[in-house]
Symmetry: C2
Subunit: 357 residues, 2 copies
């Protein structure tokens, strides 16, 4: 229960830059407490300040460490930083996949940082939508950078990565042999690749392999990866387009950077690459296009959420479905005929527009 008084206090806290108010607002949104839509609507005009940076990769790639290192540098530069750690948790492992929380706690004490961990609640599709809404709250609060760390255990983190202005994919030499199995989706979302733990054997080969997949290397003659016995280039359908685009000044070719989380080596170069990418986004109108796409998705989600809520919370609709089940069980009607009749009933009763009695 979130009364109007609570919302007003939250907003006053936002004006004053109080982290406690931010924490409160995030909880209202995340738990979908009463008033969460009012809050989101009030915050909506404040969106657009923050740069949203996604960091995704397989377990053990060092995402938490790099996220922390980035946050430390941004904080040192006087910026306000939000961190959202998203864990599409396995019911068998709990939150174990999110790595080095200890290191992250080091920055958590800084007054200009806010950290939130999010775990799966219900469907994973819902998690991506919820992550976007939490990022919106952080943005409205006035964060300069929002770092979204997602552990790579499913299709879902691709959806989450798409919420970012800049998506960074972090790999480690150990994942080198697995690069053939990287799905096209991963390559498509990456604005920036990081080979972390780059002091380990295989780092150069991994970097090379990524560049071959991106079409930055290889061509005529034997490629450096010929010993793999796999044509890496053929794995990436958009490679030709990227090669052509690479000759165009207003295009972006994902850089492949090297970092060592343990020492911080390469982090300044990563920061510079993220800045370059953001400048590219702004210069070419891609930033506007990506943010417009997020708004489009947001409208779509609100519409679908309202429809579902109105349909399935409607006692008359639910009872009507119950009444059809015996005939469905006997095979006299099908889910399709029942669905069609339900839609007609819902429209007639004003269910979709919230006009139902």
């Amino acid at each position: 229960m979130t009364g109007r008084g609570t919302l007003e206090r939250v907003l006053a806290g936002f004006e004053a830059g109080q982290t406690a108010a931010l924490a409160r607002a995030v909880s209202i949104i995340e738990d979908q407490r009463e008033g969460h839509e009012t809050l989101a609507a009030i915050l909506h005009p404040r969106l657009g300040r923050a740069r949203r940076i996604g960091l995704t990769g397989p377990p053990g790639a060092g995402k938490s460490t790099l996220t922390t290192l980035l946050a430390e540098r941004y904080l040192a530069a006087g910026l306000k930083v939000g961190i959202v750690a998203v864990d599409p948790t396995s019911p068998f492992t709990g939150g174990a996949l999110l790595g080095d929380r200890v290191r992250m706690e080091r920055v958590a004490l800084h007054p200009n940082v806010f950290i939130r961990s999010m775990a799966t609640r219900g469907s994973l599709g819902g998690l991506a939508a919820m992550t976007r809404e939490v990022c919106d709250v952080l943005d409205a609060f006035g964060m300069d950078r929002i770092l979204v760390e997602t552990v790579g255990v499913g299709q879902s983190e691709l959806d989450i990565a798409r919420l970012a202005d800049t998506s960074t994919v972090i790999l480690v030499p150990e994942s080198g042999d697995a690069i053939q199995t990287l799905k096209a989706g991963v390559m498509e979302i990456a604005d920036c690749f990081v080979v972390n733990k780059a002091d380990r054997p295989g780092a150069d080969r991994l970097r090379n392999d990524i560049e071959v997949m991106l079409g930055l290397r290889g061509g005529g003659g034997p490629t450096p990866d010929a010993h793999h016995g796999v044509d890496l280039k053929a794995l990436h359908p958009k490679r030709q387009a990227r090669e052509a685009a690479a000759r165009d000044d207003d295009s972006w070719t994902p850089p492949v950077l090297r970092t060592v989380g343990a020492t911080g080596d390469g982090v300044p170069e990563l920061i510079a690459a993220l800045d370059r990418h953001f400048a590219y986004l702004e210069r070419t109108g891609t930033l506007h296009a990506r943010r417009r796409e997020r708004l489009r998705d947001r409208v779509r989600d609100v519409v679908e959420h309202r429809i579902q809520r109105r349909l399935w919370r409607d006692a008359a609709i639910r009872q009507w479905v119950e009444d059809q089940l015996p005939a469905l069980e006997r095979g006299e009607v099908t889910p399709f005929t029942v669905a069609e009749a339900l839609l007609a009933r819902g429209v007639a009763a004003g269910t979709f527009t919230g006009q139902a009695p």
Copy 2:
């Protein structure tokens, strides 16, 4: 493109028990080719023969091996067996999580078996719905047992497990220490626990821990798990209810079985337990309730799918949303006001009932 001629050939193949027709039908459903709803509607009255058995657990628990061993025994008993292997694939690992396919190929040659692997396409929620539809096709074909193997890497496999008449959770001694992190959801869905690789150290302790969580052991005095420093019993909210139910003859207490996949030890006992559970489901009306729940979900999914398709494929609706985006970007309107206006327009235009021009 699936013409009426194709559907008729598929149905004739069903009558004749031809596996090729089954493969064709599954593909039509899985790829949502034209005519897939017609096919599903035609098959709907044939549902209900198969017993659907879910097998889920963490990677490395030996699910594929146990699935194969079960299939071999069912086939030897003259039953027809469908196997659906579901992999909520990570984009970073490809299909590597689904284990021992080689062993499964041994049974694949049997004329009375049909095996289908399913990987993530789009959202994971969609995967659960798709798995249910594929199981429906196998059921309509006349399978006696459908084994649904799901690798445990996300919330999603809980949704998939719920599709089964009987859900089996497979653990190994190595997961013993992790049992504290097993989420309540896993305990809730399990009709049957299997401690696989039970010849390894820690098997007895794992079994004991599961039984404590189920409320089958422990009570007053120090419990065998006291050295964990964790009150396992407190982790399971429904424990009290289960303890009470265990005193009732018409209740089901999940047995904790031991198997050794490498030797097949314990598989006959697992088969017997699955049979006992099915008898319990039938005797108590739980089978009817579970299947009714599946039908309810099916109707819900069809309704939501149709709404989404009609809304977002409607060019006028899409254009109208585009027209709102500039005002949304300026913060003059919110996603909520736009959504509400869109719903009203959709209803007025007959979009929901497919009446739009």
